[in-house]
């Protein structure tokens, strides 16, 4: 395998892709949203359950289809945001997730990697009125209300 392959599809990415954490649906979730990547037609749905304070994220699940990068990034995201508040996650810097992913991404693949985070922020916006992320292409404006 070439160096390029090693760095791009490193073990941790493939592990999250093949054994995604937080894969599934939360019935009657406290917050949820569906996002699309217009470049490839991938779709992801994110479901959030808050803890007793109604603010701390207790559980995040996701469903949908996507490439290894988008699925692995969303899987990592579900672990990363557990126990944080909606307000914290709404302002979560994308670099924090990118650092976790740890591979160089071209602009096209960056969109794959950010699909889950963007969708999660939209879900939180809809449920809690937290700020929307930048660049929310793929979401119908009406869906955001």
């Amino acid at each position: 395998m070439s160096d390029g392959l090693d760095s791009l599809y490193r073990e941790i990415i493939l592990d999250h892709y093949k054994n995604p954490r937080g894969h599934g649906v939360i019935e009657s979730a406290d917050a949820e949203a569906e996002g699309q990547n217009p470049l490839c037609g991938d779709e992801v749905s994110i479901y959030v359950a808050f803890g007793e304070d109604g603010e701390t994220i207790d559980e995040v699940k996701f469903s949908g289809r996507g490439c290894a990068i988008s699925q692995a990034a969303t899987s990592m995201l579900t672990e990363m945001v557990q126990g944080r508040t909606a307000t914290e996650v709404a302002t979560l810097d994308k670099d924090e997730l990118l650092e976790e992913i740890g591979i160089p991404l071209t602009p096209v693949r960056l969109k794959c990697a950010m699909l889950g985070l963007t969708t999660l922020k939209v879900a939180l916006h809809k449920a809690k009125g937290t700020p929307l992320p930048e660049g929310i292409a793929g979401f119908d404006e009406l869906d955001l209300k």
Binding site: M1, S2, G4, L5, L8, Y9, L14, L39, C40, G41, D42, E43, R65, G66, C67, A68, I69, R109, C112
Partner: protein, 415 residues
């Protein structure tokens, strides 16, 4: 230029030398460029023609009385004549320069559709359409109150002509919009039959030939269609130029699409009148150098011969289907080799096309991964996206081998 139909086999290896892009390597490997259906590479002859025009003949057209402006005008109109000849259109004034086929199809949807569609009318597209000949019609149907319908595909990825009469049921079919060659599956559609069916019902037929014109002879009179659009960039021409052809009697009755300079006869405060064809539809400064490049590309293709190009692609697509059939877990879509252009769409196990394409890139293989601007078709196939390898006159069988070798690497990563 007299067009001589050459039936001799083309020499892709020799032609490749005309394309500077192939002089470089990617990730240390020679480039196997299998994405010509998205846009073709450019021969030096076309690039030289554009440079020469800029260096010797450039001025704005149709305005100046000086010699240079006349030279530029002659170059633009000479290019229009080349496109007319390519399409066997009855008159050059029926050929309108646009940015690409998408803009040409929008021109027809707006300038014809707005004044000719209404409640009770049916706009019929197909499940195989590129978004460029689908979305404008869906939008225009919504705007005018017409009904938007879609002709389905059969299980071979070919249009289900048996469903035509049902598609017309209970309404007045006014437009049938269909591509000649599918950019996604490579299917060559029976446009003549669809045109006859449309005309029996008094409908117009709008043909998207963007994916056909690079590969085969496109004759608007033989097809019998009413409008037809092509893109220069898919056929060795520059980006930013295409053409839409329409029957003069329809174009004359249409209102303009874009308004402004050049497209007028007279402008008064009380009202403006429109110029003659084709100028009525060509507002603003024309893409002159692009038109010159487009004409040079057409000359280049004629020099090779469309029969030779078609034959070469059929050979490649047969070879590709055979080689891909050897790869376990690989599913190809679309009709058999003899009924398709040089395009093969496929999926590989449940590995996402983005991942397939990314790993192939590291092997120097460029393919397309995505929905190919055909989301209704993807829905029919039950997938979000496919991989697509597409071939052109400069494609070599070794590039298909490089693809198959790369697929084995993909398998290793995702095993």
């Amino acid at each position: 230029m007299a067009v001589t139909a050459q039936t001799t086999k083309l020499d892709a290896r020799k032609l490749r030398a005309d394309f500077p892009i192939f002089e470089q390597t990617f990730h240390g490997k020679p480039l196997a460029f299998l994405d010509s259906a998205a846009s073709s590479q450019k021969p030096r002859q076309m690039l030289d023609a554009m440079r020469e025009f800029y260096e010797t003949s450039y001025a704005n057209v149709h305005r100046g009385v000086y010699q240079l402006a006349e030279r530029a005008t002659a170059a633009l109109e000479g290019s229009r004549e080349k496109v007319r000849e390519l399409l066997n259109a009855p008159a050059a004034r029926e050929v309108i320069f646009v940015r690409n086929a998408t803009e040409g199809l929008n021109l027809v949807a707006y300038a014809w559709g707005l004044n000719n569609l209404g409640p009770g009318d049916i706009v019929l597209v197909t499940e195989l359409e590129h978004h460029s000949n689908w979305v404008p019609w869906q939008y225009m149907a919504k705007k005018t109150g017409a009904e938007f319908r879609m002709l389905p595909l059969d299980e071979h990825g070919e249009l289900d002509l048996g469903a035509l009469d049902e598609a017309a049921d209970g309404g007045n079919v006014k437009v049938v919009a269909t591509g000649l060659v599918s950019n996604s599956l490579g299917t060559i559609n029976p446009v003549e039959k669809l045109v006859a069916w449309a005309h029996e019902r008094g409908a117009i037929f709008v043909c998207d030939a963007a994916q056909a014109a690079p590969h085969m002879t496109v004759d608007v009179q033989a097809l019998g269609c009413d409008f037809l659009a092509i893109s220069g960039h898919k056929m060795c021409g520059p980006s930013g130029i295409g053409a839409v052809w329409g029957r003069a009697e329809l174009l004359e009755r249409m209102e303009p699409f874009l308004l402004g300079g050049h497209m007028i006869r007279s402008v008064r405060f009380e009202g403006t009148t429109w110029g003659e064809l084709p100028h009525k539809f060509e507002a603003g400064t024309a893409p002159m150098a692009e038109a010159v490049g487009f004409a040079a590309a057409i000359d280049y293709l004629h020099g090779i011969g469309f029969d030779a190009i078609s034959a070469h692609e059929h050979e490649l697509v047969s070879y590709a289907l055979d080689r891909l059939a050897e790869v376990p877990g690989l599913t190809t879509y679309g009709p058999p080799a003899d009924r398709r252009a040089g395009i093969v769409s496929f999926n590989f196990d449940d590995i996402h096309p983005h991942d397939v394409a990314q790993i192939l890139d590291l092997e120097g293989v460029a393919i397309r991964a995505g929905h190919h601007c055909c989301q209704p078709l993807m829905q029919k196939l039950g997938v979000a996206a496919t991989n697509r390898a597409s071939f052109y006159l400069y494609t070599l069988p070794e590039e298909i081998d490089q693809l198959v070798d790369g697929l084995h690497k993909v398998k290793k990563v995702f095993a």
